[in-house]
């Protein structure tokens, strides 16, 4: 289990990286923490010609809050996020999801940009991003664009990020009073990829449910945003919870594998949604 040969390159600055991507983005694979990529390379499922290490680029680590939006540098590690008590106040959903990501040693290397760009449908942060209706900032030589999470994930490990683009920040709205969030996950063992994970964002006044967003991981080839939640607006708490769980049962059609059948995963998705929605309404 050894990787195929490749050329290692290191970008010293964003411009450096963008120039290299502009030159031959089709041959170059960007690596940050590499916690998913290197495992795939060791198994030779991924075999890039060149690896572009961006971890030495200054200024892509840490976050700022402007206009109610958290702008988190792509190279911020999952451990950075986990330990940041201030961040947790602005985005409790993110804080709740992070400890579910693998284990400490992986979170020490894994970055927020990397996990979003890798777009594993069973990973935690893509569903958080989608649930919060966040976005990513992509830069290429001479231009920059912001892509909404809703437009980002379009296939298994596939995103709207072009070959010559670099993800520089992940943007999430901070959630405040009136919005409850909760994250639920079930994995075979804690730290494994989720069989099903659920991120819930619900506006509510303590009695009645307002606009809500439920995104599930592990049930489709991309993070799966539940439809039809607008019908729940105005519903009472327990009614809304049951209806959200029922919507999941109607809409989710996960592929079975050795860890669980379609039926099992569908019910799990529904049950975890029930739990997450219920908890979100207490916050």
């Amino acid at each position: 289990m050894k990787p195929a040969a490749f050329v290692y390159e290191r970008a010293e600055s964003i411009d450096d990286a963008l120039a290299r991507l502009a030159e031959c983005g089709d041959e170059v694979k960007v690596v940050a923490g590499g916690q998913s990529l290197v495992a795939l390379m060791n198994m030779r499922f991924a075999r890039p010609d060149s690896l572009l290490d961006i971890t030495r680029i200054e200024g892509l680590r840490g976050w700022t809050l402007a206009g109610g939006t958290l702008e988190i540098g792509a190279l911020t590690t999952q451990t950075d996020l986990e330990r940041d008590g201030e961040l947790a106040k602005h985005c409790p959903l993110l804080a709740e999801a992070i400890p579910h990501i693998a284990h400490v040693a992986i979170r020490n290397r894994g970055t927020i940009g990397g996990t979003i760009a890798h777009a594993d449908p069973a990973a935690e942060l893509p569903i958080v991003l989608l649930a919060l209706r966040g976005s990513v900032t992509l830069r290429k030589q001479g231009s920059e664009r912001v892509v909404a999470a809703d437009d980002l994930f379009y296939g298994f490990l596939m995103t709207a990020i072009a070959e010559d683009e670099l993800l520089v920040s992940v943007n999430m709205p901070s959630t405040g009073a009136g919005t409850g969030t909760a994250f639920e996950e079930f994995a075979r063992r804690p730290g494994d990829f989720a069989l099903v994970s659920v991120a819930c964002v619900v506006d509510h006044d303590g009695d009645q449910v307002g606009p809500a967003r439920v995104v599930l991981g592990g049930v489709d080839s991309t993070p799966f945003a539940l439809d039809g939640l607008q019908d729940l607006e105005g519903a009472g708490r327990s009614d809304a919870v049951e209806r959200a769980a029922a919507l999941v049962r109607e809409q989710v059609d996960p592929t079975g594998d050795i860890h669980g059948s379609t039926e099992y995963r569908r019910n799990l998705a529904s049950e975890l949604t029930r739990r997450a929605f219920e908890r979100a309404l207490t916050r």
């Binding site: 289990m1 050894k2 990787p3 195929a4 040969a5 490749f6 050329v7 290692y8 290191r10 690596v31 590499g34 916690q35 290197v38 495992a39 060791n42 198994m43 690896l51 290490d53 971890t55 030495r56 451990t79 693998a102 284990h103 400490v104 040693a105 992986i106 020490n108 290397r109 804690p190 730290g191």
Partner: protein, 154 residues
């Protein structure tokens, strides 16, 4: 592929290496520098037997290329003892059967070392969480948890 020449800072020493770009940090430590304490248990980042400290934080050396570690401080299990004098943590593993075959032990020790530096008085449950990314096939973990708790109390 031609090897690249660079140096790594390992256990406080600058060590020159000459390896292919694709060479994993794990293989570089073991085969080029003779530091065989980090072990390949799965080579895909699950088992934790290859754990080393990178700038003080535990990482999988099988999920990093040696080139990526240039300019960083690497610590391996070989740095824990002071000559023949075991560290408190190592001694706790010896005294409490924190190991059997010893294959997971270097990764376990380094994970525990970094953990205790941040959380010197942990609960048993926090210890279990801290080592949950390091698989042990021999002990059933009890001896390991006991050892780490004992080191924390020492």
């Amino acid at each position: 592929m031609e090897p690249s020449e660079f140096s790594l800072s390992v256990n406080g020493q600058e060590r020159a290496v000459s390896v292919e770009d694709r060479q994993l940090l794990l293989d570089t430590l073991r085969d080029e520098l003779g530091l065989t304490g980090a072990h390949p248990g799965c080579e895909h980042g699950v088992c934790g037997a290859c754990t080393v400290l990178l700038d003080g934080q535990p990482v999988r050396s099988c999920l990093m290329f040696a080139r990526q570690a240039e300019g960083r401080e690497i610590e391996t299990v070989e740095s824990l003892a002071d000559g023949d004098q075991l560290s408190v943590l190592q001694q706790a593993f010896v005294d409490n059967l924190g190991l059997q075959c010893g294959f997971c032990t270097p990764g376990m020790l380094l994970t525990a070392k970094a953990f205790l530096e941040e959380n010197p008085k942990p609960s048993e449950e926090e210890v279990r969480e801290a080592i949950s990314g390091n698989l042990c096939r021999c002990t059933g973990y009890d001896g390991i948890v006991t050892s780490i708790m004992a080191a924390a109390e020492a």
